[in-house]
């Protein structure tokens, strides 16, 4: 019995450790999204590769996030992330509006939406240290034509049931909660094969 208990603790610790490393260190947050009929395997999402060209030269796209002034405290890495993290969901949701209907794509896109809003929140949190002007600079940065198109696409996808609260599980971004609650119970209008 004692040995069994000990083995259970060891296995439990290994299980916990592996999952913590996978989530926080390797960043495979998509592994922890809810399963079920609507959600597939995020690693198998075809949309990911289909959108690689959109990420190749984001600087050529004038509609992606741009800093509105020179007096800012946005680090270059954050600026690059904001641009890339806008270019990608713009491709997933706006350029390929039906991609979200496929199970694997939906899992990948839901995970990416979580990252998109998490990055915005992170940059706003940093901006708060510098006051209102910096917060407004960051808000302006994330309010490019592409960001607005993403917001419109998200609204569209929640209103027609292509995205529902259950897809996000316990990770629903605050910005999405209101939208998802508003259209609760809507059945999706995805084209049936």
């Amino acid at each position: 019995m004692y040995l069994l208990k000990r083995a259970a603790f060891v296995l439990g610790a290994i299980f916990l450790g592996v999952n913590l490393l996978n989530y926080f260190v390797l960043g495979n947050t998509g592994d922890y999204l809810p399963g079920g009929g609507r959600m597939g395997e995020w690693k198998e999402a075809k949309i990911r590769e289909a959108c690689y060209p959109a990420l190749e030269s984001p600087e050529r796209d004038g509609s992606l996030p741009k800093l509105s002034n020179d007096r800012h405290r946005v680090a270059w890495q954050d600026l690059t992330s904001a641009i890339e993290m806008t270019a990608a969901p713009n491709c997933y949701l706006v350029t390929h509006p039906n991609a979200i209907c496929e199970r694997n794509n939906r899992a990948y896109i839901v995970d990416y939406i979580n990252r998109y809003f998490a990055k915005f929140d992170e940059m706003i949190d940093i901006a708060k240290r510098y006051g209102e002007a910096e917060i407004s600079t960051v808000r302006d940065l994330w309010d490019s034509p592409r960001n607005r198109a993403i917001s419109a696409a998200l609204m569209q996808d929640t209103s027609n049931g292509r995205l529902i609260k259950a897809d996000f599980g316990w990770t629903t971004p605050t910005a999405m909660k209101l939208m998802l609650d508003r259209y609760k119970g809507t059945t999706d209008n995805c084209p049936r094969a």
Partner: protein, 225 residues
């Protein structure tokens, strides 16, 4: 009962913590180092820098307004190249890492010595430029972090050039000495103004910095409104 539970869990917990520290440390180390700009002269010679103890006083060097004013005086990226100042600052830091690694790897020869001298003079120029700004600029945590990092790195590289074999040329040595003298005067002033304190440089700062921080006294606090 508690003892029994403890004896049961201590091995897996230790194993997990050990594994987590190794893997997590490997992946997060660059981020941790950026949170602590100017850790020590020894560490900063590896391209890192910062203070363990003065987080509230020190912000993020790469986004400091003084970096915006100074980086392109130090780093010539060409007229056509449009680069964010924070990106250019990272380029300078990356240069530091290269210089440190070359030294660590024991690549003897003029090239490595030149690189160390170039890095010392670049960080010296950067620190001099930051000190040339308005004194109150250093009340800003980001600006202060940039100042601490530039000063720490300058003294770390200056020490390396002193120890380099073959020795650097007398003219190069006088350039480094000139930067060192100017920076020590500026440090003394800022210690008096209260814009810099010993804790900003951490526990492993270069002896020159530690001496000034210890011997000089704060006469007024120019950051107080």
């Amino acid at each position: 009962m508690i003892g029994e539970i403890f004896s049961l869990i201590r091995v897996p917990v230790a194993a997990f913590l050990g594994g987590f520290l190794v893997v997590g440390g490997w992946i997060w180390a660059p981020q941790i180092s950026s949170l602590m700009p100017g850790l020590s002269s020894a560490v900063s010679s590896l391209g890192w820098g910062g203070s363990w103890f003065a987080d509230a006083r020190l912000g993020r060097a790469e986004t400091a307004p003084v970096i915006r004013n100074c980086i392109f005086r130090v780093l010539d990226v060409g007229r056509e190249m449009k680069m964010e100042p924070s990106a250019a600052y990272l380029v300078l830091k990356a240069g530091s890492i290269h210089a440190s690694l070359s030294t660590l790897l024991g690549k003897a020869g003029a090239k490595t010595e030149d690189l160390t001298f170039v890095m010392a003079s670049k960080w010296g120029e950067m620190a001099t430029c930051i000190y040339a700004q308005d004194d109150r600029e250093l009340c800003d945590p980001d600006n202060r972090a940039a100042m601490v990092e530039a000063t720490t790195k300058f003294f770390a590289y200056a020490k390396q050039t002193e120890a380099s074999k073959p020795a650097i040329s007398p003219s190069d040595a006088s350039v480094i000495e000139g930067f060192g003298d100017r920076l020590l005067i500026a440090l003394k002033n800022h210690r008096g103004y209260g814009t810099l304190v010993a804790a900003d440089f951490g526990s492993f700062a270069a002896p020159e910095i530690t001496r000034i921080m210890r011997e000089e006294k704060e006469t007024r606090d120019i950051c107080k409104r």
